[in-house]
Amino acid sequence: MESNVVLEAAEVAKTFTERSISVAVLHGIDLQLQRGEAVALEGPSGSGKTTLLSILGCILSPSSGRVIVNGQAVNSSRPQLLHEVRKRSIGFVFQQFNLFPALTALENVEYSLNIRGHRGIEARKEAERALESVGLADRSNSLPRDLSGGQKQRVAIARALAGRPPILLADEPTANLDSTTGLQILRLFRTLARESGSGLLIVTHDPKVSAFADRTLRIEDGKLVEGSSPMARGPQDCIPQNDQEVMERGALTS
């Protein structure tokens, strides 16, 4: 039977060493992300959220423990091959959007597809579909400098979703947006992730983000503390449709 787990961390630890001083940032992290599931990862600054995200995103290798992506253990002893795992299985959304300033919205999405091995008209059509899904079909020829923060993040979401990777990792996706735009973006992101069946992990400071998650995990001093799922929701549950609902759910998780 096919497993629904798309991302798994087992006993993951990370220690940074500089000038013979070692700092343990993560301790024995165990985590699973299911297909179609949204998980919020909260924690104070310096708690290890971004380090954990980097390890789960195969950007950083753990000092010990295992990361299993789509059922296959990641070989951390060959970091030069990690880009293959990222290419095949992971879509990123960044706090700073990280769009290519010289490329139009459409080209930003298409380029990510090109890296994933899609070429020509197929990549162009897929990019157009992705942009349409985030409501930016009419801005496809705009450069990032001509887009608002919310529009940039929509392009970034389209880029992450294009090619339907099984795992979506988002780092503070609403931190640079006003609260209304942030909620719209989260709603859109969550909906699209669910539709595509991808597992979504969102690292955030913002308690409101948890309202869109099926589970909330809290990381403190490099250790994971599983938070309560406020309404015992699963992937099939509905996404909050208005601010009042968001506030209520967010308050329950914080």
Binding site: I59, Q80, H83, E84, Q96, L103, I115, A123
Partner: protein, 375 residues
């Protein structure tokens, strides 16, 4: 596929312009310097190439055509008697002083033969028939003499070696490496008016072989009969004359140095601008890595940018060099730019630009994709 390399390069137009301008400057420098040098070398052998001879008999160890030493003009009879020789004539090439109407004296290089027409030089001329040179104290003077000697007309007189000589024609394209103006005079007259050094002497014997003659066999026989002279084929003699200027003077070194400096300027400009560009685009390259791009992909991006800069720089640089050619021509400076040389410079520009882009590779290899999470 979306061309991130080209889009990024053209996104910052000022930087791109600076890179292209740097490459273009280097290309122009190399093309003009080498073109002028090749033009001078071309001048140094232009008469050898046009003179319809198979072999040249020179004095022993003559360095080049301009600096021939004398030997007896009667050796020509020995040459003519060698089987396989169709015809052989004496040729004097020497420097002399010409008195100008303003009282000044200038150097002039004289070519003297009994029968120029038979040997195909001068190859371009106006005025009297070449055969008329034998009829009196006449000379043909090359058009390029105007710059050194001032304007002159057919029918005017000039004095050299204390004798008045009438200009009965003008030639075109007869040059020397040192840009000394060239004149054509009858062989006997040159011997008679010159100092004692040329009396009964010549500086070269030029030889045309029978069509069926074995060149090497004739050469061996000539060398046997004239053991104190050297015998060269036209090609060897042209190379020897050319190499003299390259190897025995500082001019070749100067040219190589200029080419080296041109290449260095190009490399430094490309390397510096691409490195700065790489540093400024680190976060973008980090994003490329984060979304699955390999180091190899980023190397290709930077390499492609170097190649684009090289192509645009070459086109602009070559255009500038070609635009300079008519201006230099007005200064009697010939710039030789052959398609082969153009291809070599283009490939050199491409290779050196790609090599310059490699400076950024170390930076790329060390890009931490985790920087995409930093604010």
């Amino acid at each position: 596929m979306v061309d991130l390399a080209r889009k990024n390069l053209l996104h910052d137009k000022l930087r791109f312009f600076i890179t292209v301008a740097g490459v273009a400057f280097a290309v122009t420098l190399v093309l003009v310097q080498v073109g002028l040098f090749v033009g001078l070398l071309d001048n140094s052998t232009v008469t050898i190439r046009h003179l319809n001879a198979d072999l040249w008999v020179t004095s022993h160890n003559s360095a080049n055509i301009d600096f021939g030493h004398t030997f007896s003009d009667s050796y020509v009879y020995r040459v003519r008697s060698v089987p396989g020789v169709n015809r052989a004539d004496n040729l004097i090439v020497c420097f002399t002083k010409i008195s100008l109407p303003n009282g000044a004296q200038e150097s002039m290089e004289v070519y003297a033969m009994e029968n120029f027409e038979r040997w195909g030089i001068p190859w371009s001329y106006t005025g009297a028939r070449i055969g008329d040179l034998r009829r009196g104290p006449y000379m043909l003077l090359d058009d390029s003499a105007v710059r050194r000697f001032g304007p002159f007309s057919i029918g005017e007189y000039r004095e050299f070696e204390g004798k008045r000589m009438q200009i009965i024609g003008r030639t075109q394209g007869a040059r020397s490496f040192a840009t000394t103006p060239v004149a054509f005079v009858d062989f006997d007259r040159m011997q008679s008016i010159s100092d004692r050094l040329l009396r009964g002497n010549t500086t070269y014997i030029v030889v045309k072989l029978e069509p069926s003659a074995d060149l090497e066999a004739v050469r061996r026989e000539l060398q046997r009969r004239l053991p104190h002279n050297d015998v060269f084929t036209s090609g060897e003699w042209a190379n020897r004359s050319r190499n003299y200027w390259i190897e025995s003077t500082g001019l070749g070194l100067n040219m190589y140095l200029t080419v080296f400096l041109g290449c260095l300027v190009g490399i430094v400009v490309v390397a510096q601008t691409l490195y700065t560009s790489t540093v400024e685009h680190l976060k973008e390259f980090g994003t490329v890595k984060a979304i699955g791009g390999s180091n190899g992909l980023i190397y290709r991006i930077v390499g492609q940018q170097a190649a684009i800069s090289a192509v645009f720089g070459f086109v602009l640089g070559a255009g500038q060099a070609l635009a300079l050619r008519p201006l230099l021509s007005k200064l009697q400076l010939q710039m030789v730019l052959t398609p082969d040389f153009g291809i070599v410079v283009f490939l050199g520009t491409l290779v050196l630009s790609l090599a310059a882009s490699a400076v950024s590779f170390r930076k790329i290899a060390n890009i931490d994709p985790a920087l995409v999470f930093r604010t």
